[in-house]
Structure formats: C-alpha cells, structure tokens
Subunit: 145 residues, 2 copies
Amino acid sequence: MAIFSKTCEYAIRAVFYIAHKTANGGRVGIKDIATGIDSPELYLAKILQDLSRKGLISSFKGPNGGFFIEPALLNKPLSEIVEAVDGDSLFYGCALGLKQCSEINPCPLHNDFKAIRDKIHLLLSTTTIGEFNSELMNGLFSLKK
Amino acid sequence: MAIFSKTCEYAIRAVFYIAHKTANGGRVGIKDIATGIDSPELYLAKILQDLSRKGLISSFKGPNGGFFIEPALLNKPLSEIVEAVDGDSLFYGCALGLKQCSEINPCPLHNDFKAIRDKIHLLLSTTTIGEFNSELMNGLFSLKK
DNA sequence: ACAATAAAAGACAAAAATATCTTTTATTAT
DNA sequence: ATAATAAAAGATATTTTTGTCTTTTATTGT
Ligand code: FES
Ligand code: FES
C-alpha cells in the first residue's frame, strides 16, 4: 500500500500542476492537467470538482475557462489537500487500526509510530501548494511517469 | 487513509497476538485470536491462511490444533509481515504515485518524503514479531478497541 | 474404524475505490 | 440571439478490498 490513496495522489499532483501553470495568471483546462500529470481525465475532473466545491481551487466555465488557484491560496499547506481527500487518519490514527490512538490504551507500535506520524504531519503542514512553482517551471521536479 | 490496509492491520495484530500467546508453547485457535484482536473471524482466517502458506506463521488442524509461531521466527522483522500483505510500495514507492521513485525524475516531495519513508522502513525492520511479548502478557500494550 | 475438532480451500457477497459516460449549466465570441 | 466551449452534475460501470458461507482435509481421542 502507498501512503496516499490514488485519488489523493492525483489531487496533489493536479494542485501542484495548476499552481505552477497559473502562478502568473490565466487558467488551465482539464485536458491539459490530465495530460500534464498523466491521470484519467474524467476521474480527475471529479476530483477537481470536489476540491473546487471545498474552495481549495477555483474554476470558470466556457471558452478561456479552466482551473486556477487564487494567489492567496498558494501558501496554504499541502496537508489541507490531503485532509480534504484522505481524511486525517494519517495524521492522528493508530497504525494498527485501534479505534483511538492514545497513551492510555496504546498499541505496541504507538511510541515509535507517533514520532513518524508527527513528521509526516509536519512535512505536509509546512509544505505549501505553491512552494515548488519555480522548480516545476524549470523542470527540476516531475509530476508524471 | 491509514498507513496500512485493514488486512495488514489485522495481520500485524494477529501475529503479535499469536506470538505472545504461544511464546511458551501451545497453540491458539482462530476464534480466540479473532476475539483477542477484535476482527471478523472468517476474514482473519483467510489472512492467516495466507501468512501460513508463506511460512510466517504455523498451524495444525484438528483437536488441540491452532496457530503458533516457531520460536526461531520470533525475531523476524515486522517488515516481512507488512511486505507479505501490503507489498513494498510503502518502503520504496513514490509518495505521489510516480511509476518510479528516483533521484533522476523526482516528484516535488521526493527528498523530504524519502527521509520519512526510510524511517518507517527502519522502524519496521528493526521491530521484531516477538518483541512485545512480555508487555502484551502484562497488558501494557493493547491489540483491540 | 469412528466421531469430533479445527484449519484449508473454494465459492460467493457486499462495500468502497477507481474510472467512464451522458446531460446540464455557465461563459465567451460571433 | 446563437453557436461554441469547458466545467458541473448525475448516472453508470469496473475493479479492488473487505467480509461471509460452505465444503473439504488433516488431526486427535475414543
Ligand atoms: S495506539 Fe496505535 S499508534 Fe497510537
Ligand atoms: S519520486 Fe516521489 S518520492 Fe521519490
């Protein structure tokens, strides 16, 4: 198993893609995004509709329409995307699936896992949506293949 | 999304349960295990069959039959259970689902994620199946609720 | 030998995740 | 106004994961 669901992988890659493509204004269409991140177009459309409803990305219909990200939202943490799609069990849940992760009734992995889980949470809450824009423009980072 | 699949959560909890229940010999039946880790009995049976075929746990049929773990296997790393059930993408896969995680074609999260991924791998390969036996016998750790 | 026990195996069922198809709505340009 | 464009919405399909049911096989005790 991967760390994120397939849906979440697509969501993150799409958000990074939209962010760096519209950082200087303009909009980017679903076909462009789907090709740019190598994902099934119609499934991605559903995911972006959802993010749009939740206000994490924006869109316009019609000619010259497409998706974009409000400049102010470029420094939102990536954790908000993850939480919107996969929920927060990666940040707060028990590694072994106990109903409640707690010090009172800990599973055997609790102590060591909590440390790692907190690092994941920290990474995702300190990484912003627009953080990689210039590297992505320069082709230093990849979102496909 | 949680870090392990439900199947893997049950598998780990069951292995810990069997380990500490049979550390001093004897066998433990599926009903006992399912109750002890709070999992659906018949589904767990399938999971244990699989682990048994792979040689990670042992079993006997008939009266006084049940599951147990060869003493020598008690210091096998937990990572083998995880790998047998969930595969190795948690240890080697790209966070964003790129086909290949590599320095040559890295995703934006690559550097930070690799560090965390390695910690997860280290934790699971240095934790052994029998490591928590005494704490489990003492009730210091929990495998249910 | 025979009955009782308990896991193995195979088939099936339900739910969730992933993916696709079709129709509608908003926007733009002619 | 009208046609063209592109996302939104709703419905449907496929695949995977999770869970259950039934039959078979191995083992034990009588
Ligand atoms: S109780 Fe399992 S991780 Fe905290
Ligand atoms: S390329 Fe994505 S984690 Fe290495």
